[in-house]
């Protein structure tokens, strides 16, 4: 049913002062993108308008981002609801990246405590100076063996890894072509490198071919193994073929696929049988290993070069000893317990079936990242509030993190979830969507 427009008023728009209701309506139409850029003479010009909007926007739904978690990010969590100061207890947690449940494994925690006792809180130096501890060396060696690569370089975060790899390799006048859904760290790496940037239509080898055409200099193609907002896999075989045909190097960001996909858990590159063909393998420790940090794996020459030129690593303190020791133990568990990956994929299949069978729109997801597409920027916050009241912890995702009216809640499935927990959560999601007319 299309709404009917009231007859146009004879008063001019400028005649009427905005009433509180009109202001509320205006604020509802605003989002972060309105405050990103505006002409003026003072860098602080945006601060007051942003504050004005935020004082409305936060209680209207933005408070749902970054509410304090009062427990470890296990499969059930307690959250302090900042809107009313209450404590929501025992929510099924579908919001954390803890894909293998390793962040709270007792042996991981013990390893971290022991290393902190021995080495102290921080590394107290850049990894190129005094910050490279024997623990870092051990993690590098074990990770290189796991990835079956000649070399590995550690970074303080996944963001820093992408920044360091791309800006370490590419220069002004070079070309980086990335999938349009590439993570912000990939985009920022391109900006830092000052190379030319082109973005190809998501997973389209045909558009990649178009974007690579007519450029004769150094070229790097960047894709992600699993896309973090949609949970679909890179169309790697076709993208690889096109990249090679154009003489481009190819880099894969396995932040959401490393330690999960492929026979040995090396990632989506291994899943497609292209592990030995991809030039640059990037990964993170904050998702499947439940810690923090990032890394690049590749040839000895690549690692040797980036060691000198990846500035975000050179000019940051090395990863903390407690984190590194926990990561070593977590990696050992990944190697020793391949059944963890198996359990994760079973959980993913189970949850995907529950949702799809109920008519829930989960897009093209083929992984543990499952978007539940709401496609309504106006209702996404109230739907997440309903989900929390129903006992499920999820974060809203809306424009500009995704396209306008491509809003969603994003489920992160873990191997640690029980089927009963997934059934409980799916039941709540389906009930809330039905109440809102979003599934049968």
């Amino acid at each position: 049913m299309e709404p009917q427009l009231a007859p146009a008023s004879e008063s001019t728009p400028a005649d009427a002062a905005a009433s509180p209701d009109q202001l509320r309506a205006l604020h509802q139409d605003y989002d972060y993108s309105n405050f990103y850029s505006g002409m003026g003479s003072d860098p602080f010009d945006m601060l007051a308008p942003f504050d004005e909007w935020w004082s409305w926007a936060r209680p209207a739904g933005y408070y749902l981002f970054g509410q304090p978690m009062l427990s470890a990010p296990t499969t059930r969590v307690d959250i302090r609801e900042t809107k009313n100061g209450t404590r929501a207890e025992g929510l099924v947690n579908l919001a954390s990246y803890n894909y293998l449940g390793l962040s709270y494994r007792p042996e991981v925690i013990e390893a971290s405590i022991e290393a902190t006792r021995k080495f102290g809180l921080g590394a107290s130096g850049s990894p190129i100076l005094s910050g490279y501890l024997s623990l870092h060396e051990e993690l590098v060696d074990k990770l290189a063996r796991f990835k079956a690569k000649k070399g590995v370089l550690l970074f303080p975060t996944g963001y820093a890894a992408n920044l360091g790899i791309i800006s370490g390799l590419m220069r002004p006048g070079d070309l980086v072509v990335a999938d349009q859904f590439a993570h912000a760290s990939i985009v920022d790496g391109i900006i830092l490198s000052k190379a030319k940037a082109r973005f190809f239509r998501h997973n389209s080898a045909e558009d990649l071919d178009r974007k690579l055409s007519g450029f004769s200099g150094k070229k790097l193609v960047v894709v992600e193994g699993v896309y973090s907002m949609d949970g679909d896999l890179a169309n790697l075989p076709e993208i690889f073929e096109v990249s090679r045909r154009h003489g481009a190097r190819i880099m894969i960001d396995e932040a959401h696929s490393g330690f999960l996909f492929g026979e040995n858990g090396r990632g989506v590159a291994e899943h497609f049988g292209l592990d030995g063909e991809i030039d640059v393998h990037m990964g993170t420790f904050s998702k499947s290993l439940g810690g923090m940090g990032g890394f690049v794996a590749g040839s000895a020459e690549l690692i040797n070069y980036l060691r000198g030129f990846a500035r975000p690593r050179v000019f940051s303190c090395a990863l903390a000893p407690g984190i590194v020791a926990g990561l070593i133990r977590a990696l050992e568990i990944v190697v020793a317990e391949p059944e963890l990956r198996q359990k994760l994929h079973e959980n993913v299949d189970f949850m995907q079936k529950l949702l799809r069978n109920a008519g829930v729109d989960v897009g093209e997801s083929a992984s543990q990242v499952i978007p539940v597409l709401i496609r309504d920027d106006r209702r996404i916050f109230s739907i997440v509030e309903e989900l929390m009241r129903g006992g499920v912890y999820l974060n809203p995702i809306r424009y500009p993190a995704v396209g306008k009216h491509r809003s969603r809640v994003r489920l992160s499935i873990s191997a640690a979830h029980s089927e009963a927990q997934l059934e409980e959560a799916a039941g709540v999601i389906i009930r809330v969507l039905r109440r809102n007319g979003l599934c049968q």
């Binding site: 709404p3 427009l5 001019t12 728009p13 905005a18 391109i190 030319k196 309504d376 396209g403």
Partner: protein, 220 residues
């Protein structure tokens, strides 16, 4: 304050990615392109079907680059700001009016816009006699009634102008990337590097049965 009103049946608007370098060449020195992402500016195509105005009914094609708006605390934020670098209209009277009153640059021959409207979307074919200019197609999301503010920037020799434009009507928008654009070789598309412009919109917008109100022209 005197305002100028234009009633329309359709205002169909879509945003396409274009290289920032190409966009920069279409802008005067005091304006910068707003970037969707690094090195990627926004090319806006708008097709109007005006039903009533000071110069009667006519159709109009607006080719523009999206730029940052001028903002101030306590004011209403524009939905977007744009610099129209070329317009085409279906009547001489509408061209003369827009050039004289708003300093808008025009293709100086009559063009026609065919609106093929369906429940799911609209297709627009723009042509000058039998010479095609562009084909654009968009689809719909939910309809809602809106009153939106836009900022339009213009130049005339060394003079710079801005006008606030209010758009009221039934409105739908989304970013499902389901539309399309084909630019044909024509004088109106000659400066665009069509091979560098996306063939699908990242944002699709359509306003129906609405009112466009121009406030007074401001020198800036």
């Amino acid at each position: 304050m005197s305002v100028t009103r234009y009633h329309f049946a359709h205002a169909v608007n879509a945003f396409f990615e274009m290289p920032s370098g190409v966009a920069g060449k279409l802008l005067p020195g005091h304006l910068q392109p707003l970037e969707l992402r690094h090195d990627s500016a926004i090319f806006a195509v708008t097709a109007f079907d005006f039903t009533d105005s000071l110069v009667g009914a006519y159709q109009e094609l607006v080719l523009a680059v999206i730029v940052p708006p001028m903002v101030k605390a306590g004011g209403v934020f524009p939905k977007s700001a744009f610099f129209p670098f070329l317009l085409g209209t279906s009547t001489e009277a509408s061209r003369k009016h827009a050039i004289a009153r708003w300093h808008l640059p025009h293709h100086m021959a009559d063009i026609d816009l065919d609106f093929d409207v369906s429940k799911d979307g609209v297709q627009i074919l723009v042509h000058e006699s039998d010479k095609p200019i562009l084909d654009m197609q968009i689809s719909v999301h939910d309809w809602t009634i809106v009153d939106q503010l836009y900022q339009c920037f213009m130049i005339d020799a060394d003079k710079r102008y801005k006008v606030d434009i209010h758009m009221q009507g039934r409105f739908t928008e989304h970013e499902e990337e389901s539309g399309s654009l084909k630019l044909h070789p024509h004088a109106m598309t000659a400066n665009l590097s069509p091979e560098r412009i996306a063939t699908y919109p990242f944002r699709e917008m359509w306003m129906r049965d609405g009112l466009q109100t121009f406030e007074e022209l401001e020198s800036i």
